[in-house]
Subunit: 438 residues, 2 copies
């Protein structure tokens, strides 16, 4: 259990200069500092809107990103602006909220200060919701030549790469080089890899074939490489098999027991010695906590995640909470997954505990309620496991659509994404297939 | 007059390898090669859809960009995908059309070949519609530290810069440095400078003030610097005065007789010695033909534009046409402006002349019909001079909206832009205010 007997902390002096021309606020309220504007950080900020605290959020981006739809940006279906929204716009009406676009570089737990690239920021309570990043498992070739899928910039880079490969293939007289340009390898059979490979195959077979009348579709390959013998490992077997079968029918070469050993930008080398010539490798095979967590001097578990107490605290620091992808906690002997529902529920527990601490009440332990899993496999196809019920096909796809539209932040984003989806569904189109690099 | 007695050229051997797996087309039809997918190139390709020719278009981008709305991307109002459309999608149904994404590096007029970064391409007829670029008049500091506004990448760079300056200003304790971060200098009183400065001032005063409740609006300056004593020089005086007055009322500091001499990223130096501390300078003060035109060994006139005959040919080459921004032709002693209507009308003349040449008929001279000018100055305000009639205010603004929506290519783009405009108009919003650089 955490150190619940320590007195509630005193309000911190805000060390960061008061900018913006407004006079310093005469405040005696404790400051809750939230690091990260992801699902966890955002929920925490909102949950504290009526609490007697000042909320300060730090993020190196000025927007919240709806990561579950990032693969649709990478496959030219959605525009980045439609799945991202400025943090300041989201929390505009919240009086006790302040946002600062800075990069966090460390934490001084003794001084209760977070270090940033724009100087230190003091806190009374800290919620570390800094999220996760791609785990390349030390594979240098993939870091250099592969594409991750965690940020807007990476998603647009994939879009540019895929479309550029088609343009270059149209100019390539050598058939072997042309086939390598048109071979797209997605690594990792989790939700991201499954959704990415399915959407990529549909982009090519439903849309790009019309753009490239001289393209020989037999030159095109989309591969999904999975090191184990199962996709979407958390789902029941029936759904796993359905997902693999659906991808296969959409012309994704699903390969099990295929562990990538090296990649040089032109050739993917598998552990068994197999070599796949491919100009594009998208790495969706691993995630870990952001590298910041390794620099904090805290105990970390698998994937660099910070080990937290059942009340989501750092040991010996009842004023520091770690939530979401950056936190390590087990349920029934299994680590909680690095997914939005965990981050959101942890944000609710952490903020409730802060309010309890302010009232002198003991914090409560975190209990995760699994809402289930959903993955779409392109047009009319998805698998869903909700409330212990497994279903698939068109119904699961409709559920997937509704769940994602509801969770998107902002009515405008909902409207534009819905219109985009409807248009693409009926006209077999993708509006965003621009190559926008210089 | 051009050399109309020479026999129609013979079909060129396509030197570029036949890619894409399709067999080489057994064709005896002459090839019309169009360089550039702007307004002129696109109109030329469409005009030739029923002509007995093969049309090949080259561009270094895979999309056509609707440049007149680029300033709205720079001011977070529109998304790049909404004003750009892939060339392949636009001309998908045209059977005699082929697109290649390559960069043109030169022309061998004797061999009738265009040099590209992917090898040479032969032609029977060439339409050079390569467009224009920013003219910095040799001011190195502005090339290095200023922002142009001619491409999607530049527009997004301006958006990132403006929003980043606000984020940095919120963290800046020094009031002088903060004011320099919040000073935005637009140079050039043509349509781009007028529309850009008006939209920027509205973005700040209608939208960003809500995002930054601690911002002191008195720290913000938007300046429009014009070296002469008039904005929108081609319009009648009454409209020019109205434009300046409207900008002023929207809190744009319009400065006449202000010629920029140097810029180091922090200080704008004017010719008279005045120094304006500003972290952002947007250069809309000059255009010239793309630098390619200087390498062709052709006679060029002002702004590096290629001098063309009245039939739009290069002297001594009746099979080579130059149109749009890259071409220099006078009307009533004045050079034709570098604007879309000129390019479009020239494309119609050039393609009509090619068809006439194939029939053995003499080419016709080009006659420009000026459709008039329009410029918007933000919400509810514009100036218009159409068919000799000058009008301004709300009516001109509605005309501006209608004209631009009609000219946008593709119903989807029209729909999404219209919805964006309606939303922003009623809710005082801008959806795209994301900082998307890494």
């Amino acid at each position: 259990m955490s150190d619940v007997t320590s007195p509630p902390p005193q309000p911190a002096a805000m060390r960061l200069p008061q900018a913006g021309g407004a006079p310093p606020r005469a405040t005696a309220r404790p400051t809750v500092l939230i690091v990260g504007a992801g699902f966890g950080g955002l929920r925490a900020a909102r949950a504290l809107r009526k609490a007697p605290v000042d909320v300060v959020m730090l993020d190196r981006h000025n927007y919240h990103l709806f990561q579950p739809l990032l693969y649709q940006v990478a496959t030219a279906g959605l525009e980045p602006e439609q799945i991202a929204k400025p943090v300041r716009a989201i929390l505009r009406g919240q009086r006790n909220f302040e946002f600062r676009m800075v990069e966090v570089t460390g934490v001084d737990f003794a001084a209760r200060q977070v270090a940033t690239d724009h100087g230190p920021v003091s806190y009374d309570f800290l919620i570390l919701a800094a999220g996760g990043e791609t785990n390349y498992f030390g594979l240098d070739g993939i870091v250099r030549h592969g594409f991750g899928l965690k940020s807007v910039v990476e998603a647009v880079a994939i879009r540019n790469q895929v479309l550029s490969c088609f343009e270059r293939a149209m100019l390539e007289p050598d058939p072997e080089r042309r086939r390598a340009l048109l071979t797209f390898v997605v690594v990792g059979g989790g939700p991201t890899g499954v959704e990415m490979s399915g959407a990529l195959s549909e982009l090519i077979r439903l849309v790009l074939v019309k753009d490239y009348p001289r393209l020989n579709i037999k030159d095109v390959r989309v591969l999904l490489l999975e090191a184990t013998d199962r996709l979407l490992a958390t789902l029941p077997e029936r759904l796993r098999e359905a997902a693999a079968e659906t991808l296969w029918r959409k012309h994704v070469e699903v390969r099990f027991g295929a562990a990538v050993q090296d990649y040089d930008g032109g050739r993917v080398v598998l552990k068994g010695g197999e070599v796949i010539p491919a100009h594009t490798l998208i790495w969706a095979a691993g995630a870990k906590a952001v590298s910041l967590t390794a620099t904090l001097g805290l105990a970390t578990a698998r994937q660099g995640r910070v080990t937290v107490t059942p009340t989501l605290n750092v040991p010996d620091h009842s004023e520091v909470y770690v939530i979401g992808d950056a936190a390590y906690l087990e349920k029934d002997g299994q680590p909680l997954p690095m997914m939005a529902p965990v981050a959101i529920q942890m944000a609710e527990t952490a903020t409730r505990n802060i309010v309890r601490q302010l009232r002198g009440e003991p914090p409560l332990g975190f209990r995760y309620k699994d809402p289930g899993s959903l993955a779409t496999i392109g047009r009319n196809a998805a698998v869903a496991y909700l409330g212990g019920v497994a279903f698939k096909g068109f119904l699961a796809w409709v559920v997937w659509l509704i769940v994602h539209i509801i969770q998107l932040i902002g009515f405008r984003n909902k409207l534009f994404v819905l219109m985009n989806w409807a248009w693409d569904y009926f006209f077999y189109e993708r509006a965003a297939r621009l190559i926008t690099k210089e």
